[in-house]
């Protein structure tokens, strides 16, 4: 298709010729192919790659974000990385924690514990984020749920430790250490988004949330 347009200033109109003749010549048709956009190439390539490659890429992204969240260095790279939230990481850690606690030998209500931990983590993150938003913080909803979910990872480690050790005070010491690590990371992220005079009000529910989860990890 070709256009020819002229600006006719005499009577304020635009005249032109639109040539709608299809390209009959095959060589010319090939040369005038619409260039394939970059994203189309990416879409077709991710559809054609193997499942292992896809999973490994997602796991690598989860690992990168985990390192950003759990090694609180407050760099701007961290902040940018965290802005691309995803909920795969929180789901993986939530399932891992629920499975660990429900399969440990100390109880007779495995499915009940699994359901309780699962509901507790998601509803708890939801309520804590809602609280931060209601207090006037400029925190994006899913980004906050994402960070709270990633910070559950140390409690995961604590639950795994309690499986292997049996001396109660050692377990308590390790679980307290994991709780402090989780809380420090989550607080470091949320601290920046709340105005100064309401900071403790928004951070106290985070502390309560991780305290509850750590208590579960210790007792079960």
């Amino acid at each position: 298709m070709e256009f020819e347009v002229q600006d006719n200033q005499a009577n304020n109109s635009i005249q032109g010729v639109i040539n709608l003749q299809p390209q009959v010549n095959q060589v010319q048709a090939q040369q005038q192919e619409i260039p394939i956009k970059q994203t189309d190439l990416q879409v077709s390539s991710t559809l054609e790659e193997s499942v292992a490659v896809t999973l490994l890429r997602d796991l690598r992204q989860i690992g990168v974000k985990l390192r950003c969240v759990l090694v609180p260095t407050m760099s701007s790279n961290n902040a940018k990385e965290l802005r691309n939230w995803d909920l795969w990481g929180p789901l993986v850690f939530c399932l891992m924690l629920a499975l660990t606690l429900s399969l440990s030998g100390n109880n007779d209500d495995g499915p009940g514990i699994f359901a309780t931990i699962f509901v507790l983590i998601w509803v708890g993150s939801f309520v804590v984020t809602l609280n931060a938003q209601l207090l006037g913080g400029k925190v994006s909803f899913f980004q906050s749920v994402c960070v709270l979910g990633y910070c559950v990872f140390p409690i995961n480690l604590g639950a795994l430790f309690t499986l292997f050790f049996s001396f109660f005070y050692l377990k308590m010491f390790l679980v307290i250490g994991c709780f402090l690590w989780s809380t420090y990371s989550a607080v470091g992220f949320m601290k920046q988004l709340i105005p100064e005079q309401k900071r403790i009000l928004a951070l106290y529910p985070v502390i309560l949330f991780y305290l509850f989860l750590s208590w579960f990890a210790l007792i079960v």
């Binding site: 100390n106 109880n107 009940g112 809602l130 209601l134 106290y204 309560l208």
Partner: protein, 270 residues
């Protein structure tokens, strides 16, 4: 009209006068309710937007801490003077959740201390959903009872949200007491419970008294009596369901079998 708001408000009791930021909030709220400025979903589903509830979370750390410290003092009666007496929902909600956590913790500690040597400790958390439901229902229903009673004696200055606020903050006393309740001595446990009953009732009545000063004596005593009776009922429930030294399975609060309804257990066991 909006400019004269503070002057109109100043004819109310001094304890309910608004500060500048509260006036701004009120102006914002009135704009929100102005039908010309509302978006479509705000007209119909205002209850589901966050902005609707933001007004009740307009608190600072010092305000909440001041209110909590005031709640530990059963005789002061100055609760509604702090921060201009605006109702808020942050304090009651998080005090409630903390209370659920501490009661669950102390129930487990009591059970742990009652173990005979050689017995394996089984933690008890089937009680947590039951406890949570009981607490949430209590915090929803009891302020409504208070509001209805206040309406009957024609006292309109304390709204339902004020009742929610003061009832929520009165539960703060329960938090350290429930942790102390895990001491195995029954005399200490009864004394702590009596102290909580007394502290909560006198906190509530001394604060209602500030607003009820101008009523005749019978109506005042009726309100005080109602508060006391409700508190006694709740304390008895605490003692015999949550803090008792009975075997929890006997009380039917533990689901040993998966197919039976929990209510049948309670009725059957009693």
């Amino acid at each position: 009209m909006l400019d004269n708001l503070n002057q109109d408000v100043s004819i109310l009791q001094p304890s309910l006068q608004m500060t500048d930021s509260q006036v701004q909030n009120r102006i914002r709220q009135m704009k929100m309710e102005d039908p010309d400025e509302q978006t479509c979903y705000q007209k119909f589903c205002n209850l589901f937007t966050i902005e609707y509830y933001r007004e009740y979370f307009d608190v600072t750390t010092e305000l909440v801490i001041a209110k909590v410290v005031n709640a530990f003092n059963p005789f002061s009666g100055t609760f509604f003077d702090i921060g201009g007496g605006i109702p808020e929902l942050y304090g009651p909600f998080w005090i409630l959740n903390t209370l659920i956590f501490t009661i669950a913790l102390s129930v487990n500690i009591i059970k742990y201390m009652q173990l005979k040597p050689g017995e394996h400790f089984e933690y008890q958390f089937e009680i947590v959903p039951f406890l949570a439901i009981f607490m949430y229902l209590k915090t929803l229903i009891v302020p409504m009872i208070y509001r209805v009673a206040l309406k009957c004696v024609s006292q309109d200055r304390l709204t339902l949200l004020h009742c929610f606020t003061i009832y929520g903050y009165s539960a703060v006393v329960m938090i350290p007491i429930s942790l102390l309740n895990s001491i195995p001595n029954p005399a200490i446990q009864w004394m702590l419970l009596v102290y909580v009953l007394f502290a909560q009732t006198s906190f509530l009545t001394s604060n209602f008294n500030q607003e009820l000063k101008y009523l005749p004596k019978e109506k005042k005593y009726m309100i005080v009596g109602l508060v006391a009776v409700v508190q006694i009922t709740i304390m008895i429930l605490y003692k015999f369901y949550f803090f008792s030294s009975f075997n929890y399975q006997q009380l039917g609060l533990v689901k040993k079998r998966t197919n039976t309804h929990i209510l049948q257990h309670i009725l059957g066991a009693n």
